[in-house]
């Protein structure tokens, strides 16, 4: 063990890791060059490639690229470029948790495949069903599943998130490390396993944004295809894979974004030094990374055509990619459950003295309501996914009716989680809206208790409505009626939120900095999502709208209004807290004024073509529908949204280096996290504060918290 750790810290390891990643970069460039070459020459120009190009130039180029990158990686890893900034970045980068994790994942995946395939070969089993050809070797589906599972363990071992726990088994002491590892720069913390909740929150945040970019790119690719009738540049199979991946990748991004806000904000807001279980917190984040990797890898091994819902029996017949998607989704459940436990326990037991439930900042209510759902519902979808994995890989018959299975069982298990999870996405977002409104209106939050309890109300009712996703699925009619009634009741607590927000705005002395603009945008967009819902809740109208683009418009408005807009508001609002600097206000406003009208056009456009007869999840549509103009408009709006998000990222990256230092409390907020320096100190509050008043008493001279007297931090630890 000790020698292994020594090896991982050695320069030889760095060199090998560098070589490996260099080769991977080279291979990627070589393959994509090859792909682009084929695409442009053969598919677009219709010309045959000259033999010398295919037989000599391209392979030679590929070899040079792979070998060259491997050499550069090796030399960089060995420290040849230590003098340059890029060299330092590559040197330290090759030793980050991500590099070690991915290396572990690749090695363990291959080991797992090898192990299972050897057993199968010994037993004389031949590969039937889906197979994948890896470097000329045919790999069976069970081999792939086992490899993927072991690969995730490899990632966790490699990244180091399990190290402390494993060392405990040997009886070793492993005190929590604070700050960057010895001899490594400060930024190294953010690319490595770290237990501080603020570091983990930021890790969640940038991963969420990266995954959001991937999911957005998929959407842009198939939206361009959908702008015109007829297939232009994708095949049906590619289109199906892209929209399926878009769905699940965006869900992963949203869950990561929820994790970012909850992890960063909850301990700060309740006056805790960290989360209740810091190592478990790191585990929640790091187990999410290989889960996203598996989903993306699924696109490379055949893709899948089931959408993100993966209904049986289609999922049982889909290409091999669906198996990696199911596994990635399943692994993500561990992240959800573990992080929910942390949030619940932290909020329950680590609140500052005097902070009763109704004196917490309102965001914490959203976070805890969401965590209660994650903690109790995720297991059901885990079961559904695992049953699908097992049915495909080893033939256990749960869902396929030809063997006595029940296809509707999958839908029930799936939606029992997947409906409530919508509230996991939106409740923290709605919490952000409620949190920011009083600050920018300089007024108390209207009906604090009603808003707080409406979050729990939504979470509760959310558990009783899942079968409205199945109104056309062939359920009994009495069940359709029952779920119609429960579904309609979701409108009541949601309405309470809207009315309370408007009442908070009323007579508020509003200012319109970027976070406030995004809050107002969120209310308008969530309103579109809200009012387009009840029409789907009553069965007779749903029979027309079900599986149409109306639904697409409805849930995109819900997700954008309930999560994306509030998340962006939160990013702008807490940006000075996280970085200590102010973002560029002009670029923030530009982002808002591009994205909000863009989203209105997209959402109303989708609803409009849906009610007219456009189906969901189709690669191509009938030109006789006469909706080409709307389709072009939706695509253009989608592109505008994409560009505006790039502007935000540019703003954040550039402002972190060039903008002036932010003042301590730029928004004149009463919330505790703004009463300490930015970025927040390692343990948040030197001395715990005491809560003596209500959080949103703007308009009168009243204390919310009383800070303790600062004392020198004890040496050590």
């Amino acid at each position: 063990m000790q020698s292994l750790v020594k090896f991982f810290r050695s320069r030889l390891y760095d060199a090998l890791a560098g070589a490996f990643f260099g080769a991977l970069v080279g291979l990627t460039i070589a393959l994509s060059t090859r792909y682009l070459h084929d695409l442009i020459l053969i598919d677009w120009l219709g010309a045959a490639a000259p033999p010398i190009a295919t037989e000599f130039v391209l392979p030679a180029l590929g070899f040079l690229l792979v070998a060259g990158h491997a050499f550069i990686g090796f030399a960089t890893g060995f420290g040849g470029f230590m003098g340059t900034r890029i060299g330092r970045f590559l040197y330290y980068g090759s030793a980050t948790g991500y590099v070690r994790g991915f290396l572990g994942q690749v090695v363990f995946t291959l080991l797992g495949i090898g192990f299972l395939e050897s057993i199968r070969a010994l037993l004389g089993m031949t590969a039937d069903g889906s197979t994948f050809n890896l470097f000329g070797t045919v790999i069976s589906e069970p081999g792939f599943v086992f490899g993927a599972l072991v690969g995730v363990i490899g990632f966790l071992l490699g990244s180091g998130v399990l190290t402390d726990w494993l060392l405990w088994i040997t009886g070793a002491q492993t005190p929590l490390r604070h700050g960057a590892p010895p001899g490594k720069p400060e930024w190294f913390r953010y690319l490595n396993v770290d237990v501080n909740h603020k570091v983990i929150g930021i890790q969640y945040g940038y991963t969420s944004l990266l995954v959001l970019l991937a999911g957005g790119l998929f959407a842009i690719i198939f939206r361009i295809e959908l702008a015109q009738p007829g297939m232009q540049w994708l095949t049906n199979a590619q289109y199906n894979t892209l929209f399926s991946a878009h769905g699940i990748v965006m869900i992963a991004s949203i869950l990561l974004g929820v994790g970012a806000m909850s992890n960063y904000l909850v301990p700060l807001m309740i006056g805790a030094a960290d989360m209740a279980f810091p190592r478990l917190n790191a585990f929640s984040y790091w187990v999410g990374v290989p889960s996203v990797t598996l989903i993306l890898a699924g696109m490379a091994v055949g893709g899948w055509d089931t959408g993100w819902v993966a209904y049986a029996p289609l999922s049982l017949r889909a290409p091999l990619g669906v198996q990696l998607f199911l596994m990635g989704f399943w692994i993500n459940g561990f992240s959800s459950i573990a992080s929910a436990i942390n949030i619940i326990v932290t909020t329950m037991v680590m609140r500052a003295r005097g902070m009763s439930w109704f004196r917490m900042p309102i965001f914490v209510w959203g976070a805890i309501a969401a965590s209660l759902i994650q903690f109790t519902a995720t297991q059901t979808v885990g079961v559904a996914l695992m049953m699908s994995i097992a049915e495909r890989a080893i033939g256990l018959n749960f869902f396929d009716p030809s063997g006595g299975g029940n296809p509707l069982l999958y839908q029930h298990l799936f939606w029992f989680y997947s409906h409530p999870v919508v509230y996991v996405f939106v409740l923290p977002g709605l919490g952000v809206i409620s949190e920011l409104l009083p600050v920018f209106t300089r007024k108390p939050l209207f009906g604090y208790k009603w808003i707080a309890l409406s979050s729990l109300g939504i979470a509760l009712v959310g558990f009783l409505v899942w079968a409205h996703h199945m109104f056309t699925a062939g359920m009994g009619d009495s069940l359709r009626t029952l779920f119609m009634i429960t579904t309609m009741f979701v409108a009541v607590p949601t309405g309470v939120k809207f009315f309370s927000w408007v009442a908070t705005l009323w007579e508020g002395k509003m200012t319109f900095e970027t976070p406030m603009l995004f809050v107002l945008g969120a209310i308008s967009v969530f309103l579109i999502g809200g009012i387009s819902g009840p029409i789907l809740g009553t069965v007779p109208t749903d029979l027309h709208l079900h599986d149409s683009y109306w639904v697409v418009g409805h849930f995109h408005a819900t997700m954008f209004g309930g999560f994306v807009f509030p998340f962006f508001a939160a990013l702008y609002y807490w940006y000075p807290k996280i970085t200590g600097r102010m973002y560029k206000e002009s670029l923030g406003k530009l982002h808002f004024w591009l994205m909000t009208p863009g989203f209105w056009v997209m959402s109303f456009g989708q609803m409009s073509i849906g009610i007219w007869g456009m189906r969901r999840r189709i690669a191509d549509y009938d030109p006789a529908l006469g909706i080409e103009a709307a389709q072009v408009l939706i695509t253009v709006a989608g592109l505008v949204i994409g560009w505006s998000i790039l502007i935000m990222l540019y703003n954040f990256v550039v402002s972190a280096r060039t903008q002036e230092k932010a003042v301590r409390n730029p928004w004149r907020s009463r919330s505790p996290e703004w009463q300490i320096p930015s970025p927040a100190p390692e343990f948040n509050y030197d001395v715990p504060f005491v809560v003596v008043g209500d959080p949103y008493d703007y308009g009168i001279e009243a204390e919310y918290i009383r800070m303790g007297q600062a004392q020198p931090v004890p040496a050590g630890d």
Binding site: G447, W506, P540
Partner: protein, 359 residues
Amino acid sequence: MQKYKHFIIVTVLVLLTTVVLKYVVFGPMFRLPPAASAESAPIDALFEGHFWVISFLFALIMVLMLYAIVVFRRKSGDETDGPHVHGNTTLEIVWTIVPVFVVIGFAVWGMVALGQLLQEKDDEMVVVVTGKQWEWSFAYPEQGVKAAQLVLPVNQPILLEMYSPDVLHSFWVPEFRVKQDLVPGRPTFLRITPTEIGNYKLLCAEICGMEHANMVADVRVVDNATFLAWMEERSQRIDYAALTPVERGALWYGPEGDGGFGCNSCHSLDGSVIVGPSWLGLYGSTRVFDNGTTAVADDEYIRNSIFYPGQQVVQGFVNQMPNNYEELFAAQEADILLNDGLEIDIVADLIAFIRSLNE
């Protein structure tokens, strides 16, 4: 009075905006397709009710929000906070209780309308609908007729009895409004009374794999005389003996509703790729398989590929073909032998048809 001024203005604005939204904005934006079934009436009435609520709620929140933004926003130089208002229990109770009654009202309305849709009619005609990847076929058991398009007599109550042999599909004709999934392993049912003569499209509304977008069938609603004539025409048994092998091959290649085996849903005749390889120029060509071996497409190869589709998979394709054609062909051959006294070989017909494409 100053306080009531705001509320009077806002009330007038909300009501005005509601009407404008209903008729000028959402009216043109949310157009329903023309109604062509008796089921449309209760559904469209409910739609109309919903559109009023949508218009009102959108107007209510947006007007209040924009009014507050314009009227109450901080004036320059004013550094004071807003009024210290914590909430109002009466208001909270009102805006909780009123929506409760509204949603109960709509749920009851929905129940009544759903009851009308499910109502069994006296003289229902049964049509058996089969949806499989990626083709629709229809059978009229009372008349003993099969077809690849859905032809319905106007004003005749229809009971659709729907089956799927493979994955979920969903029956949706937008002009008929109602929708129902097809679930493998069990029948599902849908009631429709077409009321307008015309041509419509049946769309598969549940993702069912690669060619989901193209799983479309023609729907014709015709007058009773036309329907009876069409039935008469379709109920003639195909005279297999009068057909040449190539003609029979074309028949087997075609959709199930026309008496074929639906090869056409995956294999084109014009060189384009749907799911499997095109049949154009197939016969006699050299096939390259995914394991690198090759073979010439002769009679034996084609027979083998139909009966055992997973054995030799052409490079660049994924095998998605059912492997039960040997049984299906044998059953059909036995049926023809029994009824027509004619001995045929369906694979030989298909080979003849494929060869004819080379000419």
